[in-house]
């Protein structure tokens, strides 16, 4: 290899890795600026913990979405799964009826089964993921309304409320712990297991994965099952947090999860993205919301800013791809 070609390649690599670290740098910068602007309220430890708490449910959904998007798919049904599993959780959490384990198992199971069926549709039905999950999003929303008979399910036990509402050592909300544990397991599976690698290969070059003897269909079913299961977990946590099962909750949660993933630098075309992308993305969305609240910026402007960040993130993604190959 001649020297010029070698140097050119180094630059290209540096640009790619800069983009991968870029979101982390942006995150630190924004947190730093907000801390300087508002040392008394934003930078308070309780507020910082609160931000992570606000990011938790979206972060859990975004972790599942990460698997789907890296495999080259998309899952629009997670918001509806949140509603259905929340309604089911609350329905089995009335005082004096069932032990706490019943709503926990049923709600997460429902999520997993819904995701599994999405995966079957994508892998064996050969229907584009967007269409499969758009259809199931609508169907599952309908099922949530049917199960709840159109109105929220109230009257849940204190223990149920405590699932998401409790604190560890009176300081760290349980929600934060669920988020951290989910993200850590997700990161391990994605980067350190055979399955994780195969998810990347399916999204990167499906033919190469197939020729290499990887059972692409099974990988697809698995990623949608993971996403559905985590949506079930998120539904359980949301129902516990709002102390009821609301069939109209979780609307557009799928878009927030996709936004977190995209902001985190995970490419929508599949095959690439870091394990921490969704975590940073979800945290960044929460930080901006919280920071702008504290700085008294109206909610209308917040939407404007959030949207601009998403477009910027994708723009960076497209630009760096154009440079790479």
């Amino acid at each position: 290899m001649d020297k010029a070609g070698f140097l050119k390649q180094r630059n290209r690599l540096d640009f790619a890795s800069l983009r991968e670290w870029g979101i982390l740098i942006v995150f630190v910068l924004i947190v730093g600026i907000l801390m300087l602007l508002s040392p008394s309220s934003f930078a308070r430890p309780t507020n910082l913990i609160n931000i992570v708490k606000q990011a938790s449910i979206n972060g859990i959904l975004a972790t599942g979405m990460t698997f789907v998007i890296i495999s080259g798919g998309i899952d629009l049904s997670v918001g509806s799964i949140v509603a259905l599993s929340g309604v089911i959780a609350a329905s089995f959490a009335h005082p004096g009826e069932y032990p706490l384990i019943v709503p926990i198992v049923l709600s997460t199971l429902v999520g997993g089964v819904a995701g599994f069926l999405n995966g079957i549709g994508v892998a064996y039905g050969n229907i584009p993921p967007f269409i499969v999950t758009l259809g199931s999003m609508t169907m599952i929303r309908g099922m949530a309304l049917i199960v709840a008979r159109g109105s929220p399910v109230f009257n849940v036990t204190k223990a149920f409320e405590n699932i998401a509402g409790g604190f560890l050592f009176d300081t760290i909300p349980y929600l934060v712990i669920y988020f951290v544990v989910t993200a850590a397991i997700g990161a391990f599976v994605l980067t350190r297991t055979v399955f994780g690698r195969r998810v990347y290969s399916v999204g990167g070059n499906e033919m190469a994965a197939k020729v290499s003897g990887i059972q692409v269909d099974r990988i697809k079913v698995a990623v949608y099952s993971i996403s559905g299961f985590l949506a079930g977990v998120a539904g359980l946590l949301l129902a516990s947090r709002i102390v009821s099962g609301n069939p109209t909750s979780g609307v557009s949660y799928e878009l927030d999860a996709i936004a977190a993933v995209v902001i985190g630098g995970i490419s929508l075309s599949g095959g690439s993205g870091k394990w921490y992308g969704a975590v940073i993305g979800a945290l960044l969305i929460a930080v901006i919301g919280n920071g702008l609240d504290i700085l008294n910026v109206s909610a209308h402007f917040q939407l404007l800013i959030k949207g601009a960040i998403i477009i910027t993130a994708v723009l960076l993604d497209v630009k760096s791809k154009g440079n790479r190959t």
């Binding site: 290899m1 070609g5 390649q9 290209r12 690599l13 790619a16 391990f188 350190r192 297991t193 055979v194 994780g196 690698r197 195969r198 990347y200 290969s201 999204g203 990167g204 070059n205 033919m207 190469a208 994965a209 197939k210 020729v211 290499s212 003897g213 990887i214 095959g271 690439s272 790479r324 190959t325």
Partner: protein, 256 residues
Amino acid sequence: MGSNQLLPDKDYLVRMENISKVFGTITALRDVNFGVERAEVRALLGDNGAGKSTLIKILMGVYQPTTGQIYFENKLVNITSPAQARAIGIEAVYQDLALVNLMSISRNFFLGREMTKNLGPITYLDIRKMNEVCKQSLHDIGIEIRSPNERVGSLSGGERQSIAIGRGVYFGAKLLILDEPTSALSVAETRKVLTYIENARERGLGVIFITHNVHHVYMVADSYTIIRHGMNVGTYYKGELSEDDIADLITGDRES
């Protein structure tokens, strides 16, 4: 001299006998006999649409032959999928299909055959070992890489070919199939890839080198099979025909 017959005195690694393939009303291959020995580089030549890739796809398990048999190491085999072809030792190196550009060299090297370690019930990837083995085994066949963590997408076409060839050799392939490996490469890179092919031959592998341009393959091939209009026009051994004679046979400017 060249004919469509397999030679009785050769010990072929793979034999394809009386292969025909019909797609609807089109006969893509007609009664083709084709055999490759161990440690032989066979050029498979033919114009676009002549049927050479159909023949290879049958060998790879992508298509089933309409008639005819395949013997691998003298055993009758029925190859039904690329995964099965790979399992018995047939490794195809397609320029675009073989590798995932977004993944690193090491990840591609072990794609579908990852090394793992166990910690209690948890099985996880042995990334360090994979990186070491990848770098070392590529080095063993003369391929130097900067880092096993480099993305395949940032490599040149020749480097990508060499990674795929090295992977096949490491995982014990007996027959390497290269589809137009040098057609998009610079002169210097072509020379390198040809060296890797010679290395593979020295290790006793059979190599099928598919191309429509005899100049890409004349130096390295031991023998040449020319396909025209779905028929085997003839197999020739080194020295039997000049480069120009073979070029004429491919286009049909000269009859065998």
